[in-house]
């Protein structure tokens, strides 16, 4: 089979699962729905592996193919095909999405066991994977946007999965609307691109982009960036992400690791030629990433919900990826995307095991001392934490440092500011990550733990522990795909699609590595000092961090309340008088006609007759006038 056939299989396998589960309804057992969903994603992964292996046998210049099934949408000279693009970048993403996604769906079989609506859950999960695959495999920008929107839809469905909880529904709507804002700016960029180039095919649009004016390019890139920051929860459209923790924990893992939030990074890498032509916007992407990574790190310091700490760490890590692709170090950004997928999925799923064992409790102030009760979970969580904090030899170390090195290579005032923010982030990462580890697993066991810990259940069934174990191996080893000064597996694979615009030197890599490891360890050390050695009481939370820098309040004041007020004003000043006024006017007119009988038909027929007569009169006048 060629890579094209396998790509189509990879794309549609989860969609088939959605349809089968939806049509099957009660005929399938709940377990069967989980197995179908997992199997379909596993098939996608197998197909992606075959595609990857096939492409490895080809010369690097011959690894890009476009396959069109039929014309999806057209008008005049515009034709948008239903097509898949098979190239190193899309196959890279296919492997991450279906591989890590498949493990998360498998884990869900254990996690969601016993929920009333497991079938709906697994249909949505498969839908999510399909949407993300459409996003990364789509052969033109309108399909990318379609996958983009369907990802937003799937996240809405899954965040609001427990639909009787008002908080879950509110969070789901917020995620969807925030994403819709991004979709809208994305769509505007595409309208502009169509107007100027007449196409949305990657190759053609990129080659024609060279002839566009700087203003147009900046506007297109800004529109795309708007979509990217909304989907990837970067400033200023990030507020939906922490609330999205209302969904089941595997959903959080899927959103944060394999799908959704990485889409913005993919978009920038995919449309790199446009961003390179609009370098102001590309710098903006880098700067937004750098600011986000610090801000999210600060907020993570004061969160008390285990999942929210991890959620803010995602925002922060995606900030690194934005910084990477914003600087033009595409492969470094994508490499961090890969390792992050492993260790973030690992952290969420391990946190899920903890939550599962503590009857759904997520507050870290009620945890503590779990190390003894959950040794396996502790071990894998530690792997994830070390990887997140960028401690060698775990994978985060290998992927984060090239991004920091790229800021040095960029140089200048901009580069050094980015450098300071990035290494500041490594310190914060060490601090909040190990605060979490120490609060949850070390120290004295809270009384709550003794009361609720499910000794019979323990650390959960094999179906949950197995994916966690695989992810732990991935989080440990994935970093070795690319070693500074050694080999460059990811960079050379992505070279034909997204060639970097800057090359870092070994010295820069070394400086970045040493500084970030030292600062990461320093963060972890301070966490130890505060939470284990207890030399100091934990500092009081800073209000700005606790209130998440008041973004929610700001958006409420800027958008929601004005929309409500506008609607009220329109009702009062326009709609009411318009409807009421015409009603009164008509009533008056009918009374004036002297029908008086109150019988509808009589009144209407008379009106009709009168209107006909009047129309003839009008007609005569008009006729004479036109003559």
């Amino acid at each position: 089979m060629t890579e094209i056939t396998t790509s189509w299989i990879c794309l549609f396998s989860p969609l088939v699962a959605v349809i089968v589960i939806a049509l099957g309804g009660n005929r399938f057992s709940r377990r069967a729905a989980g197995v179908i969903a997992t199997g379909s994603v596993a098939l996608s992964f197998a197909a992606a592996v075959v595609a990857f292996a096939t492409m490895l046998t080809r010369a690097p210049g011959n690894r890009s193919h476009l396959s069109t099934a039929w014309t999806w949408l057209s008008a005049g000279n515009l034709h948008f095909g239903l097509s898949v693009l098979v190239d190193p970048l899309s196959v890279f993403m296919m492997l991450v999405v279906s591989g890590v996604g498949g493990l998360i769906v498998l884990y869900s079989i254990g996690y969601m066991h016993g929920d009333d609506e497991e079938r709906r859950y697994f249909a949505y999960m498969a839908m999510f994977v399909f949407s993300m695959l459409l996003l990364v495999q789509g052969g033109n920008l309108i399909l990318l946007l379609s996958g983009w929107g369907l990802v937003g839809l799937s996240s809405y469905l899954l965040i609001g999965f427990w639909h009787e909880r008002p908080a879950a529904i509110a969070a789901a709507k917020k995620a969807f609307v925030m994403n819709a804002i991004g979709d809208a700016t994305f769509a505007l960029a595409l309208f502009l691109l169509i107007a100027k180039t007449g196409t949305l095919d990657y190759g053609l649009a990129f080659s024609k982009a060279h002839g566009l004016s700087q203003t147009v390019l900046i506007l297109i890139a800004l529109g795309l960036l708007g979509g990217a920051v909304a989907k990837s929860a970067q400033l200023p459209l990030h507020t939906w992400l922490p609330d999205a923790m209302e969904g089941p924990t595997p959903v959080s893992a899927l959103i944060h690791a394999a799908t959704m939030v990485t889409a913005g990074v993919y978009l920038i890498a995919r449309t790199a030629p446009i961003f390179q032509l609009a370098s102001v916007v590309q710098d903006t992407a880098a700067a937004l990433g750098a600011v986000t990574l610090v801000m999210a790190g600060l907020i993570a310091l004061v969160q008390t919900d285990i999942k929210r700490v991890i959620a803010y760490s995602t925002m922060s890590q995606i900030g690194y990826m934005f910084l990477g692709v914003g600087l033009g170090a595409y492969a470094s950004g994508m490499f961090h995307l890969l390792t992050h997928a492993f260790f973030k999925a690992l952290l969420f799923l391990a946190a899920g095991v903890v939550i599962h064992a503590l009857a759904g409790e997520q507050d870290i102030r009620k945890m503590g001392g779990l190390r003894g009760l959950m040794p396996k979970t502790y071990a894998v969580f530690l792997v994830g934490a070390l990887s997140l904090a960028g401690i060698p030899p775990f994978s985060g170390f290998f992927s984060k440092d090239p991004i920091i090195a790229a800021t040095l290579e960029r140089g200048g005032a901009f580069g050094y500011v980015m450098f300071v923010l990035a290494i500041g982030g490594t310190f914060l990462t060490g601090l909040y990550t190990f605060r979490l580890v120490f609060r949850v697993f070390h120290g004295d066991r809270d009384r709550f733990v003794d009361e609720t810990f499910d000794t019979h259940h323990g650390e959960g069934p094999l179906v949950m522990l197995l994916p966690v174990g695989v992810l732990a191996i991935g989080a440990t080893l994935a970093g070795w795909l690319q070693v500074p000064g050694g080999w460059h597996g990811v960079s050379s694979w992505l070279q034909p699609v997204a060639a970097p615009i800057l090359e870092t030197t070994n010295t820069q890599e070394a400086i970045a590595s040493i500084v970030s490891v030292v600062l990461g360890l320093a963060g972890a050390g301070i966490a130890w000092w505060i939470y284990i050695a207890r030399r100091r009481p934990a500092p009081a939370a800073v209000p700005a961090f606790e209130r998440k820098f008041w973004f929610d309040e700001l958006y409420d004041a800027l958008f929601h309340r004005p929309a409500v007020t506008t609607a009220k004003v329109l009702y009062a000043l326009v709609e009411g008088p318009l409807v009421g006024g015409s009603m009164a006017g008509i009533a008056e007119a009918v009374r004036g006609l002297g029908t008086g009988t109150g019988r509808l038909q009589t009144g209407l027929v008379r009106t009709y007759a009168l209107a006909l007569a009047a129309s003839l009169a009008v007609l005569a006048v008009v006729f004479l006038a036109v003559r």
């Binding site: 008008a75 639909h163 009787e164 609307v177 502009l192 009603m583 209407l604």
Partner: protein, 486 residues
Amino acid sequence: MANGWLTDTLILLPLGGAIFIALAPLSRLAAGLLALAVSLVEIAFWGGALTSYRFDQNIPFVQLEDRTTWFGELGISYHVGFTGPALWLTGMAAVTMTAAIAYAVWVRREHARAYFASMLLLTTAVVGVFVAQDYLLFYVFWEAMLIPLYVLVGVWGGPGRLRATLMFFIYTMAGSLLMLTSIIVLGISRGTFDIVEGGVSNSDWIFLGFVAAFVVKAPIFPFHAWLPVAYREAPAEVAGVLSGVVSKAAAYGFLYIAILHFPHPTHDFRTPILVLAAIGLIYGSVLAFRAPDLRGVVAYSSLAQLGLITFGLFATNLAGFNGAVLQMVNHGLISVGLFMLVGLVELRTGTGKLDRLGGMARGRPALATVLMTLGIIALAVPGSSAFAGEFMILTGVFTSGWGWSVVGAIAIVLAAMYMLRLISAVLHRSKGSAVDDDARDLRLPELAFILPLVACLIVLSAWPAAVTDHNLDVVNAFPALERFVP
């Protein structure tokens, strides 16, 4: 004039059915089932028309024609035939009218013979408007829509039906009289009422006469005062037909008569019309976001959608036209489906007030799935056929000025806000005060008339080019347009 009989049949079959049902002493069930059978046969004949239609740029714009002289000395004839857009709209009308009739059979409308005869008569009138190739014939069908509609709302409507009927009637009457004036002036000055033969005209006044009828019937802001009243008082399925099908007669009138046959006036007046459409789009979306009841949300969203469709039409380019036609088909299917769901929810809970509903997803998977699917498509989630239509419309209107597309993009976000609000208000959170535990899930017969609409939308989502690619090449057929098509 090959296969003109297909067009005649599509007009006459429901008319014959209507007359038979009105006269024959049928029981309620028999009248309903007969009407249903007639409308199913109508769909089959439409399938025949679709397969005989040739989507080819080099053959006449109007196909499946039939023509008989009517009042020869006045230049009036019975001239019918299909344009590409008319073909798709007729299909949409046939499918949605069938669903509405099935709905009425299921909820056992009183005075069945009068009811079903009216519905079939309405089908004839709507199809007639789409296929008429003679201005006077167009007017006859246009007015013929009004009679069954005012009976349907006035007899089977809610408590405020009398006021609603009156308002709807007076408003649309005022519009259509202006159109009649235009038609008579046009016909007499040319010596023929034939649309195809007459060719294009440059008269601003005649153009505005037509526009008056279309802006009221669509409706376009600020001519929509009848809309919230009529959509709230009409029986649910009739409200669906009003917003889904009858509004398309107006939209099609814009396209085929106002724009294609009055290119110069269109050029002169398109900016004011686009402004009204833009206002309607935002205004409708914002009001839908705060409407207190189900019908209010769907009604105002319909106002917004018609604004969007008008956007596409007055973009006056292929992307805009094709997107608008696709969106007309989408909106017909969505609107009828949503109104029927609204009706079914009202039947179960006795109310449409959003603050008394909620929690209906629990234990009602079919209702939840269908409402969610329709709502999601209605808000034009990327990848859906509604998205394809909106995308094309906004692509088209972008070439007239980026500001229009920005308005459209804002409306996309607002659509997400009001549709999700509706979905959540019905399905999510804790149980509303009007929701009893024994309020049933959608039953099999109910699914049987809603699911086909959803299925049509899903097929169109997989292949929206079915409509946009098999539609019309107006630039070939109407060279006058080229002057200003960007």
